[in-house]
């Protein structure tokens, strides 16, 4: 699983960005996006486009953690959102690693009937080209060890892990905000904050 975490101000300005990989099940914590050459801007495009959903969910749901709110199927990118009460948005893009094709074919064959309802049009094999890279096999099948976070971005376990991560980041965010030298809307440049976020990622994701 690769992660791209962003904090956006209420006016969509990015306050903080970090990309990291999973440290669970032997991961080395380095992000390996499926399309490394386009990941830089694509991650931002995907996150930016998910704000359409965030803005809607924001007023329908009073929770701070909004869970998984959006998916970008071509890159198998899942977006989870957390809203700070003062309007900052924490957005986490997570992308499961590309499975070997055999595995995803098996996952796809698990079920016509079982294939997800309206919400998830995912799970596919086959490759074509978009933006010069190959389309990814989305493995959202519940068969691939649903207990591990890496395999299934929409499982309850993942939701819980992301929630923990978000809460920990929130704590550090509040500390940042409490600094008299911080004004809302300023980019967060503290290396300590970055270390803290990295540590939270290592701990939970």
């Amino acid at each position: 699983m690769s992660y791209y975490f962003t904090i956006l101000s209420p006016t969509d300005a990015p306050l903080f960005n970090i990309a990291f990989g999973t440290s669970k099940s032997g991961g080395d914590g380095i992000a390996r996006f499926r399309f490394p050459d386009t990941a830089q801007y694509m991650n931002q495009f995907i996150i930016h486009s998910s704000l359409d959903i965030v803005e809607e969910a924001q007023w329908m749901n009073g929770n701070m953690y909004l869970k998984h709110i959006d998916t970008y199927p071509p890159a198998a990118a899942f977006i989870s959102a957390f809203l700070a009460p003062s309007g900052a948005r924490f957005l986490l893009l997570h992308q499961p690693p590309q499975l070997p094709t055999a595995g995803s074919a098996a996952a796809a064959s698990t079920g016509v009937g079982a294939a997800a309802g309206s919400g998830s049009v995912s799970g596919s094999s086959g490759a074509s080209s978009l933006l010069g890279s190959s389309f990814a096999a989305t493995a959202s099948s519940s068969r691939t060890s649903s207990s591990s976070i890496a395999a299934n971005p929409t499982s309850p376990q993942t939701e819980e892990a992301v929630r923990q991560f978000m809460n920990e980041v929130y704590e550090n965010y509040v500390k940042t905000v409490m600094s008299p030298f911080y004004r809302q809307g300023m980019e967060i440049r503290s290396p300590v904050f970055r270390t803290r976020v990295t540590a939270a990622g290592k701990k939970w994701l």
């Binding site: 809460n167 905000v177 008299p180 030298f181």
Partner: protein, 261 residues
């Protein structure tokens, strides 16, 4: 203006000097040699860590939640703030606007702190006791009423150790967007004596700014002003008038239809 009569310690849910606190935030209004030593928000090469190697990230946000702050020092500080704001102002309105602006960023911060404290302490019922939801973690206010309850109860308790005294809705059909929060004896005005020729002035405009910050942070475009409404019993009685913007009222209707509470 400020007259420290007693050295009473007041439970303000305040912090002591080293921890980030609303009070300390006002340091930013001090001249800039303070800022030069800003330990935290500068990029790594110039990062200066305090001698005890502890940054703000190493301190627990709840550490000082039950500690107390000297009312005298607060009164002194606030007096200085008013004095500072009074420089080069054109009139009472201008002065109130400045005070409001000083309070606004505080409101934004308090909002995050308030929610954080509610999440992190299961024992606390600061938010849930009066806000419409009692579930933890607390909900962000989506409608006007929960927001007002949040201000009236938890926010006031965080700031002044007690809830505000009244919460009213305008009865005039022309101004359905107006709400009033009443404080019979605003703590900030305790040691403020307003000269006769400025009798319109209410230094609780600072608190109005805080309220405005809280509302704005939650996504409610609002204008908040403080007005003197003395009664015999409460000569310092102050009314905070909240006027929500049109976009907020439009949204209220949509959310009402959608059944959002």
């Amino acid at each position: 203006m400020s007259q420290p009569r007693h050295n009473t310690m007041l439970s303000l849910s305040r912090t002591t000097s080293n921890t980030p606190s609303p009070a300390e935030k006002h340091h930013q209004h001090h001249p800039s040699q303070q800022i030069q030593s800003a330990p935290l928000s500068s990029p790594s090469p110039g990062l200066r860590v305090p001698s005890n190697r502890k940054t703000i990230y190493d301190r627990h946000l709840n550490r000082s939640r039950n500690s107390e702050l000297s009312r005298a020092s607060f009164a002194f500080l606030f007096g200085e703030m008013v004095t500072y704001a009074q420089r080069r102002v054109t009139g009472i309105q201008d002065l109130e606007k400045r005070l409001n602006e000083q309070g606004y960023p505080l409101g934004l911060r308090l909002l995050d702190l308030l929610f954080y404290r509610t999440i992190s302490s299961s024992t606390s019922s600061a938010l849930s006791s009066s806000s419409s939801t009692s579930a933890s973690p607390p909900n962000r206010p989506l409608r006007i009423l929960p927001l007002l309850h949040l201000i009236h109860g938890p926010l006031w308790r965080l700031l002044f150790g007690r809830a505000a005294d009244a919460l009213e809705h305008s009865v005039s059909p022309e101004t359905p967007n107006e709400y009033m929060i009443t404080d019979n004896d605003p703590m900030v005005n305790t040691y403020i004596s307003v000269p006769r020729e400025m009798s319109m002035l209410n230094c609780a405009a600072f608190v109005a700014g805080i309220i405005e910050g809280v509302c704005d942070g939650c996504g409610f475009e609002t204008k908040v002003t403080a007005h003197n409404q003395p009664t015999e019993l409460w000569p310092g009685r102050t009314i905070f008038l909240l006027r929500f913007g049109d976009s907020v009222m439009e949204r209220e209707k949509v959310l009402e239809r959608a059944g959002v509470k």
